[in-house]
């Protein structure tokens, strides 16, 4: 074969193009929402108030409905976990945060296992037992899953923030070069003051951003890490106000047309 590289490229390109639609279909499935209708849950009350049932039939019917609804609810909870796993796996980990992501994924695996175990308990319980399982899951979600969900959301927010910090760092470097050059040719106190304020603000933003990463790595409470993330973004916003002031000071030094 005269052009083996061309043939390899053609094969790979063809495979990718053919597989592309299936990939997107897979992603769409992972994002499927789960609908728990109030009408379905009203069936419990309907069975309880149906005069045609004998007491025994009523208990049997209520148990059937409760088990079916609890199973459906746990399936929805499992879908939530799968969705979070997909989002988390798609998040960028180029900022030395693989350990945080791995820990969160491991916690999600634990959540998935918990739901599987709870679902298996449904086979051998009565009405009271099904209520206990529902209470148990509810308490576990409040104490374990909801904080985990918060930590994951914070982690995703933080990873998104890093592109803003990289952009701001590049802008800071360019601004510093410009200010150093202009100060060497014509000293301006306004320019130097504006730059110093901006630089200090950016240093503060970076310190808060690092603290937020540390909070995520230590698996602190979601509100703690989120507070640090918010503070870092507020400082970054102040940094950009500083960039505007520096820009104005530079324009004042440049010859006007």
């Amino acid at each position: 074969m005269r052009f083996p590289g061309l043939a390899v490229f053609g094969v790979i390109f063809g495979v990718v193009m053919v597989a592309m639609p299936f990939f997107f279909v897979g992603v769409a499935h992972a994002d499927t929402t789960c609908a728990l209708s109030p009408t379905d849950f009203a069936k419990i009350a309907a069975v309880q108030s149906d005069p045609s049932f004998t007491p025994t039939e009523e208990v049997i019917q209520e148990l059937v409905v409760r088990k079916q609804l609890l199973s459906q609810t746990i399936t929805c909870a499992q879908t939530e976990v799968s969705s979070l796993q997909s989002v988390l796996l798609a998040a960028t980990t180029t900022y030395g945060t693989q350990n945080i992501q791995s820990q969160l994924l491991s916690d999600l695996d634990g959540a998935s296992d918990f739901y599987t175990i709870e679902k298996s308990k449904l086979n051998n319980v009565g009405i009271a037992g099904s209520k206990e399982i529902a209470s148990e899951i509810l308490a576990w979600r409040a104490g374990t899953y909801t904080p985990l969900e918060g930590k994951i959301n914070n982690y995703l927010l933080w990873t998104q923030d890093q592109s803003f910090f990289n952009t701001a760092q590049a802008r800071m470097d360019e601004t510093q070069n410009a200010v150093n050059f202009l100060e060497s040719t014509s000293a301006s106190q306004d320019l130097q003051n504006a730059f110093n304020t901006t630089y200090a603000s950016f240093q503060s933003a970076k310190a808060q951003n690092a603290a937020a990463e540390s909070a995520l790595a230590q698996s602190l409470a979601p509100d703690q890490s989120l507070t640090l993330i918010k503070q870092s973004l507020d400082s970054l916003s102040s940094t950009y106000q500083g960039f505007f002031a520096v820009s104005d000071a530079i324009k004042a030094l440049l010859p006007q047309p």
């Binding site: 206990e132 308490a139 979600r141 803003f164 470097d173 050059f181 509100d223 918010k230 973004l233 960039f243």
Partner: protein, 170 residues
């Protein structure tokens, strides 16, 4: 002898034969430059081409440097236009403001979820869930779903997982 006759005698002036012979020998004994061959001429043309190309490349480099088109100009050009470009600054600042709004939404969700978790933990411990006018009131925990719904189900088309579990635990 007048001046005219003296000048007429210059016509008869001639060099000393001994000096002429000596000068001729010296000239013939000096190293003669050989005529360049075709190969040497080719090398000469090649070197000239290299020289011209290098000059053009250097000129092009300085043109790029002067116009700010060089990729490494952030280290070479003292003042970047982007530093004073208001459009770029506004775009980046706006993007950060949007991210702050996103963080604010997350913050509101975390706060409401924490309050709900406290209520649920109390309920799981045997206490009654918060009852408002005879119906259980709770807040959805799904991201971006802050709708407050009642357990009566009349005002909502779907229930969150927590709302469903609350109903099934009673």
């Amino acid at each position: 002898m007048n001046l005219f006759e003296a000048i007429q005698q210059f016509r008869t002036l001639s060099p000393d034969p001994g000096f002429t012979e000596k000068s001729k020998r010296m000239i013939l004994a000096s190293p003669q430059k050989a005529e360049s061959s075709v190969g040497m001429r080719g090398v000469w043309i090649f070197l000239h081409t290299i020289e011209t190309g290098a000059a053009l490349a250097l000129a092009g480099f300085f043109v790029l440097l002067a116009t700010g088109s060089f990729s490494g100009n952030s280290y070479l050009a003292p003042v970047q236009y982007s530093v004073i470009d208001p459009g770029g600054l506004h775009a980046e600042a706006d993007a950060i403001d949007m991210q702050i709004q996103l963080a604010d939404i997350s913050y509101a969700e975390v706060s409401s979820t924490a309050a709900e978790s406290t209520a649920v933990m109390a309920g799981a411990g045997g206490s009654a869930l918060s009852l408002v006018s005879g119906s259980v009131t709770s807040k959805g925990t799904g991201r971006g779903n802050d709708a407050t719904t009642t357990a009566s189900g009349a005002a909502s088309s779907t229930l969150s997982v927590d709302q469903a579990l609350q109903q099934l635990s009673q």
